[in-house]
Symmetry: C2
Subunit: 265 residues, 2 copies
C-alpha cells in the first residue's frame, strides 16, 4: 500500500531507521493494538523495496526498545506491558516475619506457606568470604559465611536472583543453614536472627540498573534490551552489627521501587 521508501528526508536517515520510526509510530499511535500483529519482514522488504536484512535491523532496533516481540515461526507482535510490582520497605516489615517464627525455629514449616505467593529454589552452602562479602559483613576475607542462593519465581516466571550472606557464627545450627527446600525464606531468617538476639532493625538498600549478562538473561528469561536492577542490601541490628548482606538481580520490567523518607537535616 505505497509504503515504499521516499527518501525525501535527510541523507543521514538510514532505510532501517526510517522503517523503525514508521513502525514505532504505528505502535505508539495505537494503530496496532497491544499484542497485535505487525507486518512480516518479507512483506515490509517488498513494500519498502529493501532487503529482508534491512527490515530485520529495523525490528532489532524496536526490540531493543522493548516495543516489539518476535515469535519465531509466527510473526512480529506489539509487546504487552507487564504489570509492575511495587516494592519498598514495607516488604521487610516485622509483621511479615514475626509470625513465621515458630515454624522457622522448629524447622517444620509448611513449604506451601512459602511458595503460595511464588516459588523459590534455593541452595545453602558454607563458604569463605570473598573480599566484597567480607567488607560488607565487616569480617575478614576467608572467614566462614553461610550463603543462601535463590531464584524467585512468580506466576511461572523468574523475577529475581538473590544471594544472601550471613556470618557462619550467627546462623550455625539454625534453619538458615539448613538446605531443606521451602525453609528459611527471608521472613523466616529474620525471625531466626531475632531469636538469637540479633534482631534486624534497620537496613540500607542500594540500587543500580544495567544491561544483563548472558547468564542473567537465561536465568531470568529476559528479552533483548531488557535491563536488570542490581541491589545490595545490608541489614543491621540496633547496635549496628551487620547480620545479612544480600545481593540480588531483578528483571527490571517487573518492579518499581518505592522509598518514602523524611528529609534529613
Amino acid at each position: 500500500m505505497g509504503r515504499a521508501m521516499r527518501c525525501t528526508r535527510s541523507v543521514t536517515t538510514r532505510p532501517y531507521e526510517q522503517i523503525a520510526e514508521d513502525l514505532a509510530e504505528m505502535i505508539k499511535s495505537g494503530q496496532v493494538p497491544e499484542d497485535g500483529r505487525l507486518p512480516s519482514t518479507r512483506q515490509l522488504a517488498r513494500e519498502y523495496e529493501v532487503s529482508v536484512e534491512t527490515v530485520n535491523r529495523a525490528y532489532a532496533k524496536l526490540q531493543a526498545q522493548q516495543l516489539v516481540e518476535r515469535r519465531p515461526g509466527v510473526g512480529m507482535f506489539v509487546r504487552e506491558a507487564k504489570p509492575l510490582r511495587r516494592v519498598g520497605p514495607h516488604r521487610y516489615a516485622r509483621s511479615t516475619w514475626r509470625k513465621t517464627t515458630v515454624e522457622a525455629l522448629s524447622g517444620h514449616g509448611d513449604p506451601d506457606a512459602v511458595t503460595q505467593r511464588g516459588s523459590q529454589r534455593q541452595s545453602v552452602t558454607e563458604e569463605e568470604a570473598s573480599e566484597a562479602v567480607a567488607t560488607a559483613l565487616r569480617i575478614r576475607a576467608g572467614d566462614p559465611v553461610v550463603r543462601r542462593a535463590r531464584v524467585v519465581t512468580r506466576e511461572g516466571h523468574p523475577t529475581h536472583i538473590v544471594d544472601s550472606y550471613y556470618r557462619a557464627e550467627d546462623v550455625a545450627g539454625t534453619p538458615i543453614a539448613d538446605p531443606r527446600p521451602g525453609m528459611a525464606g527471608r521472613e523466616g531468617s529474620y525471625a531466626v536472627l531475632a531469636s538469637r538476639g540479633l534482631e534486624p532493625t534497620e537496613m540500607t538498600e542500594d540500587l543500580y540498573a544495567r544491561a544483563p549478562t548472558e547468564d542473567e538473561k537465561k536465568k531470568l528469561k529476559l528479552g533483548p534490551g531488557e535491563p536488570v536492577v542490581e541491589t545490595w542490601r545490608t541489614v543491621r541490628t540496633e547496635t549496628g552489627r551487620i547480620v545479612e548482606y544480600a545481593h540480588s538481580v531483578h528483571a527490571a520490567s517487573r518492579f518499581i521501587w518505592s522509598f518514602p523518607f523524611k528529609i534529613p537535616d
Copy 2:
C-alpha cells in the same frame, strides 16, 4: 593465530554467538585492558572464516552488554567503567538548601553557585496539569501548574532530565516561576517553598528501570543497550500537602541509589 572456528560445540551455538563469547572471555579475563583495542571486524572475519556481517553481529551483542565501544573509523575498544555517583536522601538535606534561602528569595543568586558542580539548562512554563500530574499533586486535571524542565550535565555529559511540577498558587511570584538561568535549582526551590509556609519535610521516591526511548538516547547521549532509570518524586509538607512532583530520567550507568531505612512494624 589459529582462532578459526572449531565447531566442536553444540549445533545450536551460532557462529556469531561463539565469537561474542570468545571476545567476552578475552575482556573479562583481562587479556585486553580497559579501553584497549579489540580485533577489527575484517580481521576476525578472516580468522573465524565468516563474513564481516557475522562478526558485526557478535560485536553488536557485546555492545548491547556494554562491554564494547565502537569508534567509527578507528576500531573496537573495551568499554571503560564510568564512575558512579551515589545518590540518596542526603542530597535533599535541609543543610543543602537552607543556606541558599536568601539568594533564592532575592533572585540575585550567583549563577556559578548553581553551576559549579555541573550545569543545568532549564525552562519554566505555566501549563495545565495533565491527568498524571494532577493526580500526583492532588489537584484537578487542567488546573494551572508551573513546570520546570531541566537537563542536568556533569563534567560535560548530560546525566539526567528532570521535570518538576508545582501548583501555580504555591509558587506564583517566586523565583521558582522565574525562568532566569542559574536560578531556582532544587535547593533554592525548597527554600522558597519553606518561606511560603510550605516547608518540605518528607518525600517518596519511586524508581523504575527500562530501555530508553530514541529521544532520551539523544538527550542523554546513551550508548546502545544502556538503560535509563525513571524516577518519580513527590514532596510533602508536615501536613501532607504535596508541594512538588518531579519526574526524571537518569542515565543508569552513572548512578547508584542508596536508601537507608528502619525496618517497619
